[in-house]
Amino acid sequence: MKYLMLIAIAFPVVWGACLPFLRFEETDRSSRNKYALTGALITSALVFVNVFNFKSNDGFQLIQLTNKMSIVFDIDALSCVFLCMIAVLWPLAVLYAWEYMHHEGRENKFFSFYLMTYGIVIGLACSANLVTFYLLYECLTFATIPLVMHAMDRRAIKAGRKYFMYSIAGAATAFVGIMFLVEYGTSLDFVYGGTLDLVKIGSQQNLILLGYILTFFGFGVKAAVFPFHGWLPSAGVAPTPVTALLHAVAVVKAGVFAIMRVTYYSFGAAFLAGTWAQSIVLGFACFTIVFGSVCAWKQQHLKKRFAYSTISNLSYILLGVGMMCPEGLAAGLAHMLIHGIMKICLFFCVGVVMEKTHREYVPEIEGMGKVMPVTFGCFTIGALSLSGIPLFAGFISKAALGTASVSSGLPLGLVGLCALLISAVLTAAYTFEIVIKAFFPSKGFNTRTLCEFKDPTWQMKTPLIVLSVLMILIGLHGTELMNLLSKIAMNLL
């Protein structure tokens, strides 16, 4: 059983690594695409096998670095949630990338790194202690840089460089936090309730809290918290499968997942609840929520708009996590899952529009609703869900977050609620602006200019439709999902 987990991590990396050596010619596209898709599907199957019969703490130690630090992999409840999300979305992204990468070129390099990232993220999820986690966190950055710089033109290089610097700086600050844990924690393993040795801390509580804040902002760089969000919008230059999967789901969620691990499994929520550190976390989260939505409304570029929207939604999750209570964690997990689905669907729709019509700005997509009904239909469902309209998935997580932030009783909880409501309105504004422009062009608009645009092939359409149906299903019946998540948050599973 232990080795199954290792296989699940190693397989995609190996599969991706040897892809370039199989020398698929540029023209022989379908075989390489099939190769990549089979790789992704096998990995997902492996992941699901691991998830469904996981027994906690039968970890597999790979290497023993020092007496305190070792590379250990072990699946626990929290990592299952992350794994399920990735296992579902990754194959869909690969399928989507088939047709999209057609005009981007250098597909061998792209798909190899794409699969390798998949393995690293699985490893990240399964890491049992902070050291392993930190190692894979760094590898994730290195694996994703070539994906961001895929187009290899000036703009891409500039964005890649910026992304690299932000991530390395963030990891460095996070490393400092880990030092505090090494010193004051009983062990670096992830144990629900934290591993701090309260006796040793004694009077230096503020020092530890400072350490936690450093870790929060360190990992916060990847979770795009306010001062360090700069890299996400400029990473929009990457091809859509990259922005959709990495910068809306995998990479940024890794940052959020790191903060969850550190808060609930290293420092311990009980220790942090009610302290000034929690206020800082909540303060930054609330500000980022509103800031992200405002910038999204201001931004006219489609991808940048949804990048800023991701920044705001990530802080939704951080707001939930910052509540330092099981309901908060459950709400955060729910929003992580549901936002992943919503945002990837929206990015896919935007990708289709950009790929088919080469138009990137909001005013330019006037009247496209009639010409590309499936794409904009899925986009509307995504928009409805993102702005939290009931009967769609977004409402479930928004309701959970709202109730959690109010029931915490903190004054900042109420501030969080206001931020949630304002951001919901702004989200409705900037998403429905696009829907209205697409479906209801102004009077004088003649649709003949759009006649050559039409819906994409089935490869691109299936992910859209699957995700939209998923959103409606969760929206209509999210009971089991929420019960499961609240059990995980209370560490009962």
Binding site: I389, L421, A424
Partner: protein, 493 residues
Amino acid sequence: MLGYFLGLVLFPMLSGVLCLVPAFKDDRKRNLFVAAVLGLNFVFVLLSFMQEGAFELLHLTDHLALRFMFDGAGRFFLLLSGLMFLMVGIYSFEYMSHEHNRPRFYLFYLLTLGALNGVCLSGNYMTLYCFFELMSLLSMPLVLHSQTNESIAAAKKYLLYSVFGASLGLGGFFLFTVYGGSTAFVAGGVVADALHHPLQLSSDLLFQRNMLLIGAFLAIVGFGAKAGMMPLHAWLPTAHPVAPACASAVLSGVITKAGVLAILRVVYFLYGSNFLVDTWVQYAWVTLILLTVLVGSTLAYKEKILKKRLAYSSVSQVSYVLFGLAGLNAWSLTGALLHAAAHSMIKDVLFMSAGSIIMHGHTERADRIDGMGRKMPMTFACITVASLGLIGIPPLFGYISKWYLCTGALMTYRNFFSWLGPVVLLISALLTAGYLFTLTINGYLKNETAESDAHEAGALMLLPMVILCALIVICGLAPKLVMQLIEFINTIA
């Protein structure tokens, strides 16, 4: 019970979608189909009068459930909206023959009816919020039907205000779920009696009471947006003039009443009237209402464009209804509901006649209808009856509701609101006479200035107007008919 739900909510929605079927390309067939659907809906409403009780359709999560209930308040508003939609529907066949893409209009017209029936039937706060949002979204295309830049901007503004209002309502929902208990509607309110008297409350119970009061105020202001109450009323005067006349008739006649019903449900079925009596919430609410009443009628008095004037008049008249709700006792509530019925009928007649003036009289402005009364006698007769009703001239329907509203206010309020309310209502009635009666005088008595080829509207347009005028006179002479409909009041106030 489920059958009636399907009949009332899903049936109009599905038939709305059916309108897009190419078989209904030809106008006559589609108009017959729409008329049949509206008629059937009205029959369903009458049949549903025997129903009583509630049922849960589906569970989004454990706490969030779609619950529907058949009770007095729901029946009253169902009948009102069913009747108005039928009348305006018959009117719209001829009116829309001059507009473009009619199938889309009837699609959203019937979808809005379905959502509105959903609001009337909703049994708990979450369902109310859900159908409230749906109604805002589905009625937005009615506003931007003409697709001019101005109407698209107005539609965006309408959507923004409605979504912001609904999100305030959602804030109230979160506060209530945490501090108030179950959100199912129960006649007379759910809040524990202990919280009713603030004096002998412990500190955390006091905190809970304040949170509930804040929640109540948020919900009132939020749902008040749809009813055109002060802080969020600005969308009404911009949205109505651009919408087609039959759309604005439905928008201001019936959809504002959905806002009223939402507030009625929250105040009387959730918080309970004796929880909110003599609290700062009631007084802040009454101040907002009186401000709206005055602002609405003054700006209507100064407005030159006919539909904008009627929109401002809706802003002030719906606040009459809210003034009755704010009285928090059975007497003023009777006045409120009577005025809701009266205003729906009267405002629909006024908007329909405004539509026929625009269509056949070829003018949008109220000061250019001199002498049109001779050319369009029936339309101006309806305008006269409706204006006399709205001013509150005894034999017609508007009088008795003013009687209950003002005496109710005099009896309930102990402070200066007891006389200030009636004084403001009467000043506004004077202004109403100012801006409505001039229409009749200019129409009938002034002789023609410009040579206009105005001619009387078609029979199909006049029929609903005449029926509604007859209703105004009959209900005015014998309001007992309507009083039986609102017997449920004594159970809740």
